[in-house]
Amino acid sequence: MNNLIWLIPILPLAGFVINGIGRNTLSKGVIGFLGSFLVLVSFGISLAVFLQVKSTGTPINVTIYDWFAIGDFHFQFAFLIDQLSSLMLLIITGVGFLIHLYSVGYMKDDAGFGKFFSYLNLFVFFMLLLVMGSNYVIMFIGWEGVGLCSYLLIGFWYTNPAYADAAKKAFIMNRIGDLGFIFGVFLLIKYFGSTAFADVFSRAGTQPFAAAPYVLITILLFVGAVGKSAQLPLFTWLPDAMAGPTPVSALIHAATMVTAGVYMVARSNILFTLAPVTMHIVAIIGLATAVVAALIALTQTDIKKVLAYSTVSQLGYMFLGLGVGAYTGAFFHVLTHAFFKALLFLGAGSVIHACSGEQDMRNMGGLKGKLRITFITMLVGTLAISGIPPFAGFFSKDEILAHVFAASPAMYAIGVLTAMFTSFYMFRLLYLTFYGKFRGTHEQEHHLHESPPNMTVPLIVLAILSLVGGFIGIPESLGGHHWLAQYLAPVFQKSAALFTGSTLSGSTEITLMAVSVTGAIVALVYAYMKYVKNGHVPVADTAKRSPLASLSYHKFYFDEIYDTLIRKPLDWLSEFAYNYIEKLGIDGIVNGFGKGSMDASRGLRLLQSGNVGFYIFMMVVGIVSILMYLVIKF
């Protein structure tokens, strides 16, 4: 089995190469089949690897080759498949495959079909590399690669300038984070002399140096995670990433990319545990992101924007969990979130597909009867994200919240409030889209149709996963064994030994669950009263809003603030450099030479009178003066 591991990332790469070269010559059927099938094979191998890790309980280490050596520093291109990465592999290839399958139907009329599939495969390849790498440098290759692919896919319809801008924004925001990540890796080499996970983690805690390097390293790594996983203050790229085709949103938000930050922190858990200061920062930023994104999502009217902010908010939860030391819980949430968020995005894609490209929920409504499968699967996804038992989101979210309560009840209160917001805006989305009367044009109404089977099958599979996905982590307080926690225990072993926080009793845990479920149901009912009973529809863009609603609707003016604080001064600086340094300075000197010689020649040419006698006279004068000079000289 071990000698097949390298195939897991290579197959999507092969798909990228073949589809990339044959994007204009191969038929759409071949491209779609190849793109999806290769990922499916990867999934098959991943499953086999997962089963092996599960039965043996030991990580698999595969060294592909010695990449380079600098002095004594040997750098190996090696893969590490342990409990953590084997699960990630399943998510990436499994959910990734479903998204590929869905894209075959969703993108069938797009001219860039081949290009799209080659990018998707490349995306999966880089994400697999990120997860499988056995050291930080290989992780960094994947880290950069997914950034590149997100740029390519967000700007897939690059002829629209707004979409191209969104792609650039995603790329630049990611770069800011990547800088932190790479500095973190440099410091790791400086302090640990290695980037391999095995070396770093075994030396962590036994090194003679104080806590400061840990804080510095983890903060830098966390900056990378903030960029990649769209946390405050670098989250604005994720909602804009909606510019890409909907399957891309699903891929970025669920299976790949944004989970990279969480994965990286979970992977480096021992470093973070040794740096309590960073842990506090992670928790606070996670919580702030969760609240702010949820508040923004409350008033958005674009169906994909709501989902985008919900992703940001859920990622905030994950980091909140990481910050309080609930590594298993955070990773559990990554897992369940991958299911229900992919489901919700693909469902939204199905809705958009049915409504002839309409994305504004104000022009939807009453789709319940027309899109039966989409409606039921979306309902499952909504229930899952809202944390209603027994759907997947309930278990993971409540595990995080329970740990948060143990760390800080105040944070818990905000977390539950955010969960209520989540429930409200998700049901608001559901009610606005599927209930009431259709509010679009007659033409759109005429075209309403359920999506083809290759789009609905992924929805159904994901819905089932969203329904049962939580059962792998039933807490002991509910009579389960928390299989996931046991499975992941070796990865978090060292951190668990250092964990100093208090643990909750079973009854407290059940009370906390009851609180958050009640909160979610209250929010659900409120949304029902407002949007179904009273038939409320969000007002038009231009309508006057209350100050708070306006703040939320305009995304807390984050874009505007960044515009004023960063873009404007930069623009001003480049304007200054262009007008004064470039135009006056450099151009001035260069043009000065040209202009000077032109002026000089203009003056000198007047000497050429055309009078031959004068020329001869001057010639004689010249010769005589040369002679005179020679005579005087000697």
Partner: protein, 109 residues
């Protein structure tokens, strides 16, 4: 018998230099003051030949034939130059119906 060299050396070198300088100056003045292209041309020949004469004189006085070989080269060159120069003058005449150099004032930028 008195050789050619002896008879040339009978006259002091200063006289040759003086003569050549005078002829050269006549040539220079002729070039400067006359407007007829042919006369200017002849003045140039005058300057050229004064230099030839001087070269020959020095050559004889020093008993070194190099100077005279040079003179032959210069004469051959002068013949070629005359051919070109006269051709130019003929063309000027055809174009302007005159060989007055002041008529030829379009030779400018």
């Amino acid at each position: 018998m008195k050789t050619l060299n002896d008879s040339i050396q009978a006259i002091p070198l200063n006289h040759y230099i003086l003569l050549c300088s005078i002829i050269f100056s006549i040539g220079v003045i002729g070039v400067l003051v006359r407007r007829n292209a042919i006369v200017i041309f002849m003045s140039i020949e005058l300057m050229l030949n004064s230099v030839n004469l001087l070269l020959t004189a020095f050559s004889v006085y020093r008993g070194d034939a190099t100077g005279q070989v040079f003179v032959f080269f210069i004469m051959a060159l002068a013949a070629a130059e005359v051919a070109v120069g006269l051709a130019i003058i003929v063309m000027i005449y055809r174009n302007t119906n005159s060989i007055d150099i002041n008529v030829l004032n379009r030779l400018k930028w």
